[in-house]
Symmetry: C2
């Protein structure tokens, strides 16, 4: 060995205390020579907290999430932290399990990017002194941060956009109105549409899935001759697109579709859709920052973050027919 105590090695590795340069050097070379890699488990055990953060998502196969995950992981790695991803499959019971696993890992923090979570689980985390950051869950407290999005601005942009193209009969496909985020988008649409003085509007609520978008669009188009449709998320926009195809509507000649909130799909759905983008990798980064801030400074109370939205205009939005 380097002829020093384990304690000294610990101090060198974590540079947590003044160590004589020469001693430090002896330790460092010994580490090199022996190919020593600190045992993460032992470190965690002794330190009482791990270097792993939890990242709970609804479904990694939903392209909404990989972007967030990427942003989160990249930010985490910069701070020598790991992220462990947990899928809930839109199931609150699985969210609970996920939280349990996170607790078991002694993770100092968790980002909860799903709405399917019980209040009891939300309150469990701070009790166990685990920092948490939520997406659109609207509460900020000790150990709890929240990220919200400027849905109103995004919807405004979407409405402005179709209005500019002369559309007057505009449909809106919303998500489950029980979710704050869906409700806010729906309300924003109604408000903006009124302000814009649109001739005719109709809103249908659905469930944020491709199938839901298909269904809602079909419903919307029967008896309502919309020339443009704004979907509250991208999956539903895709579904709406399929429904339009199946009714032999050309996009955008007969019907323009604006999908709210994705950027991932842009490249796939193109050229059929115009999108309002939430910068998702930013969400991931911000989520990590929120955790990092509260973890490193326990006196910190938790914060509210607001993400801007951004309209991605595509040539494919068409003028209103007729």
């Amino acid at each position: 060995m380097a002829g020093v105590s384990v304690a000294t090695v610990s101090y060198v590795v974590n540079d947590a205390r003044n160590v004589r340069p020469e001693t430090r050097h002896r330790v460092l070379t010994a580490i090199q020579r022996l190919g020593y890699a600190p045992n993460a488990a032992a470190r965690n055990l002794a330190a009482g907290r791990s270097f792993i953060l939890g990242l709970i998502v609804s479904d990694i196969r939903n392209p909404f999430f990989p972007e967030i995950i990427t942003g989160f992981q990249e930010a985490a790695n910069v701070c020598s932290m790991e992220a462990i991803i947990l899928n809930t499959n839109y199931d609150a019971a699985r969210t609970r399990e996920a939280v349990n696993r996170i607790l078991g890992l002694q993770a100092p923090g968790v980002a909860v990017m799903t709405s399917q979570i019980d209040a009891s689980v939300i309150s469990l985390l701070p009790r166990k002194r685990v920092c948490a950051v939520y997406l659109d869950l609207g509460r900020v407290d000790k150990y709890i941060s929240n990220i919200t999005a400027d849905y109103e601005g995004g919807i405004q942009a979407a409405v402005d956009h179709v209005t500019q193209f002369g559309h007057q009969r505009v449909g809106f496909i919303g998500g489950n109105p029980a979710l704050t985020s869906a409700w806010r988008r729906r309300q924003a649409f109604l408000t903006c549409a009124e302000k814009a003085g649109l001739k005719e509007i109709r809103a249908v609520d659905s469930n944020f899935t491709v199938e839901g978008g298909y269904y809602a669009c079909s419903k919307l188009l029967s008896g309502f001759d919309a020339t443009a449709i704004i979907a509250a998320n991208d999956l539903m926009a895709i579904g709406a697109m399929h429904a339009a195809y199946d009714r032999n509507l050309r996009i955008p000649a007969d019907l323009s579709i604006v999908g709210f909130d994705d950027i991932t799909f842009a490249q796939f759905a193109q050229p059929a859709l115009t999108t309002v983008a939430l910068p998702r990798n930013e969400i991931g980064r911000v989520a990590f920052q929120a955790l990092w801030t509260t973890i490193t400074d326990p006196s910190h109370a938790g914060s509210e973050y607001c993400m801007e939205t951004r309209l991605t205009i595509r040539q494919s939005t068409g003028p209103a027919p007729r």
Copy 2:
């Protein structure tokens, strides 16, 4: 507490020893009541191995991977293991970092689902007694398993499919031929096309991205009047679709596109594409199984697994024009 020793709790949790049903029940309820979650760090430390497996992927935003990840995680969770996902961003240097982090976590195994890895890193893993499973890297050894896909079968199905629709001028968009998996697909295409007696074929190599598909398709269509195109992966198929749109070709009226190897895109790209599907969640499951087998039975040498492919026929494949 439940009035039992810590050891008994351990035995119950791991059911590693016979425990009287009544005792077990007492322990279980106490666990419930206290919301006890085992400390992973302590377990790892005591057991000498961690319960975290590494899962290295090229890019989680590529829809190829989330499916694999899901399958892997679900299989892992059944065995009370966690999976930690590491993104390489198609960069061998980052793969090396990822492996290092895995080593630090004392992970007993790692699934490497990217081709961007140096030979030195591959050989490092078994030296550190970490099991590994690769995708299409073609070597099987102690601690090393390999998963390969029946590309030949898939390409055969794709060629048969377009042939059945009367297509005689068929283009092929391949990936980087330096990759075994891309090479095999390309070769299979050439072989099958010849066997099928197609009038005219042309193959262009590209790089497995949407942009690459766009580029390759454009190149393919200039001076070659293909009526069907087979793309070696889905991203390139999407790119090809865009290129076709931009040349005012209707799909499938003017050009049919068969995308090799995805199922995720089916729902998005529909109705434009026919796909040959690799069951990706199966890949994830198999990858976990491969690791689990070698981890739980160290005498086991590592195995070769072969995934079947499956053609997903969509009404959208059109007959050959003219």
